[in-house]
Amino acid sequence: MTTARPPQIVAFGGGGFSMEAGNPLLDDYVLSLAGRDRPRVCFLPTASGDADHYVVRFYRMFAAHCEASHVTLFRRERGGGAVEGNLEQHLLRQDVIYVGGGSVVSLLGAWRAHGLDRILKSAWRRGVVLCGLSAGSLCWFSDAVTAFHGAPTVVRGLGLLPHSNCVHYDGEPERRAEYRRFVGDGVRPGYAADDGAALHFVGRELRRVVTSRPRARAFRVEPVGGEVVEQPLPVRYLGDAQRDLAVA
C-alpha cells in the first residue's frame, strides 16, 4: 500500500451499472476514489444468489478499464472464473469492493457463514473503498430498513456506519412513512437515499451526496423535539461536472 487511505463507503439508494444502463456517473465516481488508472474492482453478487446475468453485466461495465474480478459464495467448488483460494488475501488487495443488490438478509447470512463480515471490516479499515446499491448499501449500516421480503422491517447490518439506512426512497411511498415510524420508535437516526443518489462516507461521517440523476435526493432522518424530521441534504449532480457523459 503506497499511502494510508481513509475508510470510505459509497452507499447508493439505487443505481450504478445494474440499474442505470448507459449512465455510468455513480460507478465512475466510485472509481475516481481509487486514485489509480486501472483500479482493482471486485464484485460481490451474494445478495442476488450470485446470479450469472449480474456477474456478466459487471464485467461488461468494468473489465475494459479495471482489474475486475468477482467472488462467488455459492459455487466455490466449481470456480467458474470467480476468485479461488484465499478470499481474504484477494479482497484486501482491492481498490474497490462493489456489492450488488438483492436480499440484505440473505447477503448477511451468507457473508457471516464464510467470514466475509470480518474480512470486509478489515478491508474498510485499510482504505479499500466499499460501495454498493440497495442491499449493497444497507449492509454497511447498523440498522437497515428492508422491504425486500414483504412489509418493511429493520435488520442489523455490519455496523461499520453507526446510522440507519433506507434505500429506493423515491420508489415506494409507504417506505418513507415506515422509515420515519421506525426512527420514531427508537431505531437510530440515519440516512435515506433515492434511486440515483449515493451517500459518500469518509470514516463514519457523511462527506457528501452525489447523484446520477438531476432530481435524485437524499435525506437525514432523525427525531427532533419528539417529532421525526426528514431533512433534505445538499446533493451534487455528477452530470454537471461531466456534461459530455450525461445522458438525456
Partner: protein, 267 residues
C-alpha cells in the same frame, strides 16, 4: 384443524444422495416417489432453491417436473416474491417441502438469517414431508460432508435425524474418504452414504426404506465398532421409471390420460 392436517402422518424425510428433477431431467422416478408419500390427492409442494442462490434454471425444471403432478410453488430468499405473507403461513400449508442442492453452508446460514430453520422443524413435526438432495438432504442430519468452500469438509446439520449423511458417493467420490475419517475419529456420528439416484426414507427418526431411480446405485451404512469402521452395503428397491431407461418422452395419449385422471381427481 383442516382435513389436510388430519391426513398428515408421522414426520417423514426423503434424503437423496443426488437425483430428482435437477439431476435427472429424464427420470421422474424419485420425484414421483416423493409425491407418493403424501396422502392428499392434489399435493402442495414447495421448492426451496436456497442452496444454489435461487437460479432460474432450477426453478424452471422444478415446475417442468411438478406443475402437472401437484400444486407447485417455490420460495425465493434472493428475489422479491411480491408476497407480504409470513414465511410461516407459506411453509406450513404445504404437503411437501423440497430442498435443492448447492452450498450447504450458505443454505443453513441463510435459513437461519430468515429464521426458516425453526419453521422447517415445525413443518416436519406436523407431518409435512421434507425431501431434498445433496445439501438439501444432508441438512436434516447431525452432519455431512460439504464442498461449500471447495475441498470436502465436515459440516454440521440441523440435526432432525441422528447420524451423518454424505451424498454423491459415486458421482463425487472425493467426499467419501473425508466422511469415513470423520466417522472413524468421532467427529461425525455413524451414518449413511448414498449414490446419486438413491433416496433414504425416514419415518420419524427411523430409516425405513431405501429406494433408487437407477440400477446399480446403492447406499452404505457405516458405524464404528471397537474403533474400527464397519461398512454395510444396502441394496435399494429400484423404483419404476415411467419413461424407461432411455429417457423417451411420454407418448401423447398416455399424457392425455394422466391429465384426465388428474382433472377427475380434482373433481
Amino acid at each position: 384443524m383442516s382435513t389436510r392436517d388430519l391426513l398428515r402422518g408421522d414426520p417423514q424425510i426423503l434424503a437423496m444422495g443426488g437425483g430428482g428433477f435437477t439431476m435427472e431431467p429424464d427420470n421422474p422416478a424419485l420425484d414421483d416417489y416423493v409425491l407418493s408419500l403424501v396422502r392428499v390427492a392434489e399435493p402442495r409442494i414447495l421448492f426451496l432453491p436456497t442452496a444454489s442462490g435461487d437460479p432460474t434454471a432450477q426453478i424452471t425444471s422444478f415446475y417442468a417436473r411438478f406443475a402437472r403432478r401437484a400444486s407447485a410453488a417455490h420460495l425465493s430468499l434472493f428475489r422479491r416474491h411480491g408476497s407480504a405473507r409470513a414465511l410461516a403461513d407459506i411453509l406450513l400449508e404445504q404437503d411437501v417441502i423440497y430442498v435443492g442442492g448447492g452450498s450447504m453452508r450458505n443454505l443453513l446460514a441463510i435459513w437461519q438469517a430468515h429464521e426458516l430453520d425453526a419453521l422447517l422443524v415445525e413443518a416436519w413435526r406436523r407431518g409435512i414431508v421434507l425431501a431434498g438432495l445433496s445439501a438439501g438432504a444432508m441438512c436434516w442430519f447431525a452432519g455431512g460432508i460439504t464442498r461449500s468452500a471447495g475441498p470436502p469438509e465436515v459440516i454440521e446439520g440441523i440435526g432432525l435425524l441422528p447420524g451423518s449423511f454424505t451424498v454423491h458417493a459415486d458421482g463425487e467420490p472425493e467426499r467419501l474418504p473425508v466422511w469415513l475419517e470423520a466417522v472413524r475419529s468421532g467427529v461425525l456420528p455413524g451414518g449413511w452414504a448414498a449414490d446419486d439416484g438413491v433416496g433414504l426414507l425416514f419415518s420419524g427418526t427411523r430409516m425405513v426404506r431405501v429406494v433408487s431411480s437407477r440400477p446399480g446405485a446403492a447406499a452404505l451404512r457405516v458405524d464404528v465398532v471397537g474403533g474400527e469402521l464397519v461398512r454395510h452395503r444396502i441394496e435399494p428397491e429400484l423404483l419404476f421409471a415411467e419413461r424407461g431407461p432411455g429417457g423417451r418422452p411420454v407418448p401423447d395419449d398416455v399424457r392425455e390420460l394422466r391429465e384426465l385422471r388428474q382433472a377427475m381427481r380434482r373433481g
